[in-house]
């Protein structure tokens, strides 16, 4: 059973105690504990269950690479699944529960999967569950889904109560990793004056060195680390950050960093996470190395742990997973663990070394202190059900005949080390195989390259394969020296690190080397996903030979630890199975993030009110106060209608329409785009932009125009007003304002750059209000205008400016409703005041604000098209009966050439018509007119479709517009339109509608031209 030692624990504060709970049980910890160390201190070795076989699992590592100890953290709104116990700093009141089991961590029904393990090899699901067909969806898949999946999601009824934010930074150098390599690099760069960000994912500086008994410049590593941090903290151009992980490296020197501000200190009201978006000149990855497990039977049992992790627990937190630990290794470093355990008063019955000989200084020290060192040996199997009770030893080069049982309650294993090359690899840095260390390290000749084609990531220290402390420091100096040289600077003196020398390691991929198939089926490679040596060998046998195939077939390395422990072991096993060299087999792709990061951090502050910018017109506040029912239009929000108390939306719309048609209505049209186009070539330019002629428009007049893309399709429409000889004011649709302005600038800057035209988007300068209806003029007269607004003085399609009710205004006589209408623009700062002035003046005329839906219905009654309804990106003006707005005289306009293509001149293109149901009902939105027969693919033939359809309160029945084959030539014909409903016989219900003119209301225009 794991215990808290009575001494040791450099990171914990033994003088203070904090309480936390695990699966409801109250436990004690010290400040400085991680959840993993605290659980161990409380005798809790089993911390989770594996993914596939639900095997009981204890912690194997002490950091980001931990695959087993994942817990649910917190509850209610703050619940979070799959939290790594090794990275979770314990705080007072922390609540954790274990996951992926039922009913309990100790007794899990899912464990039966393990009994059938033989029936569930890698990829078994591809080979079965094929028959009977419906069983997959209804039986097999639900079963698989339930048993997979690890932690449970938070309660969907709540949203996350925490805050998140982002931070953009710019630095000459980002250093990831605050071990001795990273610190030294930071010192050198900081002293040279570079702008540096040094980030460390964990809560403390120093990395491995302080645990490993390293000396630097004659002092203990921990002291050197403290001094280095103190010096760096004094440098204003160096930013030191703990709990900030470099999560990913992207092109052109972009680093995403993940800072955990609130996880360890809930209740402080800080943002929970901060996502750093750093643009770095250079990146030094001083990310260290990770120890590899060894593959022996039973290596996944609780109590079997990485040797370095065990050392960390003893030295950093004063906890030990057991009292009697067998060490199994293929290198000298694990002897440090043996010595550390002994120093902590724990027993080490033997050190099992797979190498035929072991004589390095650390080995000698171990022997000298009386430890039993067995060379050429390995572990044949681990005994114990929910923990370790003994190991069976065997010869490493045999098939696993048991030579001896050793009673123990923990095993510390070391299969060698792998540099953490993730950050080097994210952007395409290549690796090279280091046969001596049996690991991949950065290939300096093939770095990831930046915008100048230069390598921009440099690995330093253990991450570059310089594992021993003395090499680490030399390597780090060299690495940072390369960056300094680029800045024309040189590095400072290299601190001298001293650590015990190590004899060469010897790769061991399977233990024992000749293990039979039964044993290989008990050797875990990927602990979380339950991938075993036998699975990888099966994949190879079945032809999934590429390492990428093996990964996907077995799920090796796809768990939440992303194979930090398993990848190298797995591909070595694959290489052996294929009889290939390891470097030829290669690695799978390293992808960000280095360890998982919260979705909340990615989204940053963008939630709730500021999820997206909400654009507001100057009159928005009035709409809000007066109960507008909103409709999102792009980022704007426009009133759909203004329902009165107890009134349905439908009724409100009808009321607004009738009030407008019979009296006067008021529309906030401020969102309409307004662009000034000015210059000697402005007319010529607009003639290219619009299908019709604009250059001939007289000052003081307005003209409706259509704009097409160069591909011929209608993209926008609106009214152009000529302001003076050189200036036009272009109105666009709400969605068109920015798009059309950009479109203009594109053509002006990139094609016709010699034309003298300037544009300015003044959409937001003006509040624009449409005063609409037979009494519109009366309202304005009541307010008082200092210019002529009479029918003669300001006729339809003219505009004028002056003061109305004391407001500086431009009045445009344009109408989208068929009524007498003035669109009046006033400066935005006075928009609301003007709106309210109109309302006051209009009281006696029954003035009624109306929304977008009334606007749509009224325009449909008049047969006006709407961009986005009658057009959908496939429609050309010729389809819409708008040929009158297409100039025949112009040699060119955008879209003209496109409209000459055969399909666009095809006489069978569907054309715009009006539609009236025979029974007066409203045609369904988007309904199709059916034709006889089916096409070559068995689909029902069609001959038209509805583009807009409404109930017209003015006419008291449904009206619609649509595009119909030869439509304008078929007036009076009746067509069948489909519905999505079925009749009693199960046949599709149809609605009959007659083809009519699209202008349903006041075809002569008598109401608007007054």
């Amino acid at each position: 059973m794991s215990i808290r030692l009575s001494t040791g624990g450099r990171l914990i504060d033994r003088s203070r105690k904090i309480g936390f709970s695990f699966n409801g049980k109250q436990m004690m910890a010290h400040p400085g504990d991680t959840l993993a160390s605290a659980l161990m201190a409380n005798g809790q070795m089993i911390m989770g269950r594996s993914f596939k076989y639900h095997r009981p699992r204890g912690v194997v590592a002490s950091g980001a690479e931990e695959p087993n100890a994942l817990v649910n953290l917190g509850k209610g709104k703050r619940h979070e699944p799959n939290q790594r116990a090794t990275l979770t700093e314990v705080f007072d009141g922390l609540e954790a529960t274990s996951q992926n089991h039922w009913p309990s961590l100790n007794w899990d029904i899912g464990e039966v999967n393990a009994l059938f393990a033989r029936l569930l090899p890698a990829g078994f699901y591809y080979k079965t569950f094929i028959h009977p067909r419906p069983f997959w969806k209804h039986v097999f898949e639900p079963f698989i889904r339930q048993s997979a999946g690890l932690g449970r999601a938070p309660d969907p009824r709540h949203s996350d109560p925490d805050r998140y934010e982002q931070f953009y930074a710019h630095a000459d150098l980002v250093i990831a990793g605050g071990g001795i390599a990273g610190l030294q690099a930071a010192l050198a760069a900081g002293r040279a004056g570079l702008k540096v960000i040094l980030c460390e994912q964990s809560a403390q500086w120093g990395g491995r060195a302080p645990i490993d008994g390293v000396e630097i410049d004659g002092q203990p590593a921990a002291d050197w680390v403290d001094a280095a941090v103190a010096e760096l903290a004094q440098m204003p151009h160096v930013d030191l950050r703990l709990r900030l992980m470099a999560a990913g490296v992207y092109d052109h020197g972009y680093v995403i960093g993940y800072e955990r501000l609130g996880d360890h200190a809930p209740g402080q009201d800080t943002p929970r996470h901060r996502l750093w978006r750093i643009r770095a000149g250079r990146i030094i990855a001083a990310t260290g190395a990770l120890e590899r497990p060894l593959s022996f039977a039973g290596n996944d049992k609780p109590g079997v742990m990485l040797a370095s992790a065990m050392r960390d627990y003893v030295v950093n937190w004063g906890v030990a997973p057991g009292a009697r630990t067998v060490i199994v290794t293929n290198n000298d470093d694990a002897y440090r663990t043996a010595l550390a355990l002994v120093a902590a008063g724990l027993s080490v019955p033997c050190i099992v070394d797979a190498r035929p000989e072991a004589n390095g200084p650390l080995v000698q020290e171990a022997r000298a202190s009386g430890l039993r060192v067995l060379t050429g040996m390995g572990i044949a199997s681990v005994k114990g059900l929910r923990g370790v009770v003994a190991v069976q030893l065997c010869a490493q080069d045999g098939a696993g005949e048991v030579l001896e049982d050793v009673v123990c309650d923990a095993v510390a294993m070391s299969g060698g080390w792998s540099p953490v090359v993730h950050l080097w690899s994210h952007c395409g840095g290549k690796l090279t195989w280091d046969a001596a260390g049996a690991f991949f390290r950065p290939d300096h000749a093939r770095p990831p390259t930046d915008q100048k084609g230069q390598g921009f990531v440099i690995c330093a220290g253990a991450a570059d394969g310089a594992l021993l402390a003395d090499e680490t420091m030399v390597n780090a100096a060299k690495s940072v020296g390369r960056v300094l040289a680029e800045h024309g600077k040189s590095g400072a003196a290299v601190p001298v690190a001293k650590a015990a020398a190590e004899a060469p390691m010897q790769p061991v991929w399977v233990m024992p080397a000749g293990a039979g198939v039964k044993k290989r089926a008990k050797m875990w490679l990927d602990f979380q996903n339950d991938v075993k040596v036998s699975d990888v060998q099966l994949a190879a046998r079945e032809g999934y030979e590429s390492v990428e195939h093996t990964k996907r077939y077995t799920t090796l390395g796809m768990a939440t630890d992303q194979g930090k422990l398993s990848n190298i072991n797995g591909l070595a096993v694959l290489a052996q199975a294929l009889d290939e060299d390891i470097p030829r087999v290669g690695t799978t792709t390293f992808r960000p993030p280095y360890t998982p990061i919260s979705m909340g951090a990615i989204a940053g502050e963008a939630r709730g009110e500021i999820f997206q910018p909400l654009r507001r017109t100057p009159i928005h506040g009035w709409h809000e106060e007066n109960g507008a029912h909103w409709e999102p239009v792009g980022h704007w929000r426009r009133p759909y209608c203004f329902p009165k108390k107890g009134e349905s939306h439908r009724d409100a719309v009808n009321r607004e329409i009738m009030a407008t048609r019979n009296g006067v209505g008021l529309l906030d049209a401020s969102t309409l785009g307004k662009i000034i186009v000015k210059g000697p070539d402005a007319g010529r330019f607009l003639d290219m932009l619009y299908t019709n002629m604009m250059s001939t428009l007289a000052p003081g007049k307005c003209r409706y125009g259509l704009m097409c893309s160069e591909n011929g399709f209608l993209i926008d429409d609106g009214v152009v007003a000529r302001l003076d000889a050189e200036s036009f004011l272009v109105h666009t649709t709400t969605g068109g304002a920015d798009r059309i302005h950009a479109h203009m600038e594109d053509w002006l800057q990139c094609e016709w750059w010699d034309w003298q035209v300037y544009t300015a988007n003044v959409t937001e300068q003006w509040a624009q209000i449409a005063v609409v209806g037979p009494k519109a003029r009366a309202v304005l007269e009541k307010l008082g205008a200092d210019f002529d607004i009479s029918a003669a003085g300001l006729p339809f399609m003219a505009w004028a400016e002056g003061k109305i009710g004391g407001f500086t205004a431009r009045a445009f006589r344009i109408s989208f409703s068929g009524e007498l209408s003035f669109e009046i623009a006033v400066p935005a700062a006075q928009g609301r005041a003007f709106w309210e002035a109109l309302l006051r003046a209009g009281v006696e005329f029954g003035i009624t604000p109306y929304g977008t839906e009334a606007l749509h219905v009224m325009r449909a009654e008049k047969g006006f098209i709407m961009i986005g309804d009658e057009t959908d990106g496939t429609v050309i003006p010729q389809d819409l009966g708008l040929a009158w707005a297409i100039s025949k005289k112009k040699g060119d306009y955008l879209g003209k050439r496109a409209q000459e293509r055969s399909h666009m001149t095809d006489p069978t293109r569907w054309k715009l018509v009006g539609l009236e149901t025979l029974d007066g009902s409203v045609l369904p939105d988007g309904s199709y007119a059916v034709a006889d027969g089916v096409n070559a693919n068995g689909q029902r033939n069609t001959q038209g479709r509805v583009t807009s359809t409404y109930f017209s309160p003015t006419l008291g029945r449904g009206i619609a517009m649509g595009l119909v084959l030869h439509g304008p030539d078929r007036m009076g014909e009746v067509l069948d339109f489909n519905t999505t409903k079925k009749d009693a016989k199960g046949e599709m219900r149809m609605i009959k509608a007659r083809i009519v003119s699209p202008v349903f209301f006041d075809p002569a225009g008598e109401k608007q031209n007054v």
């Binding site: 092109d251 084609g453 050439r897």
Partner: protein
């Protein structure tokens, strides 16, 4: 996450301040052009894996369109230059050749 230096305002702009605009130096074909030419102008693209001339707009900045030579396989940027050109200027060609000796303008 690309960066380009805007040749108009000198800002080293982040991709998120820019809008991409597709291939550069397209020759416009209008009325009277052949179907082939028009199709080529509007749609057919070399879509090279390698040196690519392209348009960008400094949309969240000075608002100007500029052109860039960039490698689509490594994302290296050889240079940026004003949009008011019909072909890549010599200094851009030279910068590309310095980095890609085998490359030539096709």
């Amino acid at each position: 996450m690309l960066t380009f230096q805007c040749p108009y305002c000198g800002v080293q702009a982040c991709e998120t301040e820019l809008a991409a605009g597709g291939e550069a130096h397209l020759k416009r074909f209008g009325p009277g052009s052949s179907d082939e030419d028009f199709e080529g102008y509007l749609f057919l693209r070399p879509n090279v894996k390698g040196v690519h001339f392209e348009r960008w707009r400094h949309a969240m900045g000075c608002g100007k369109w500029f052109l860039a030579a960039r490698c689509t396989a490594t994302l290296e940027v050889f240079g940026t230059y004003p949009a008011q050109t019909t072909e890549p200027p010599p200094e851009i060609i030279a910068a590309i050749k310095a980095r890609r000796p085998d490359w030539s303008l096709s």
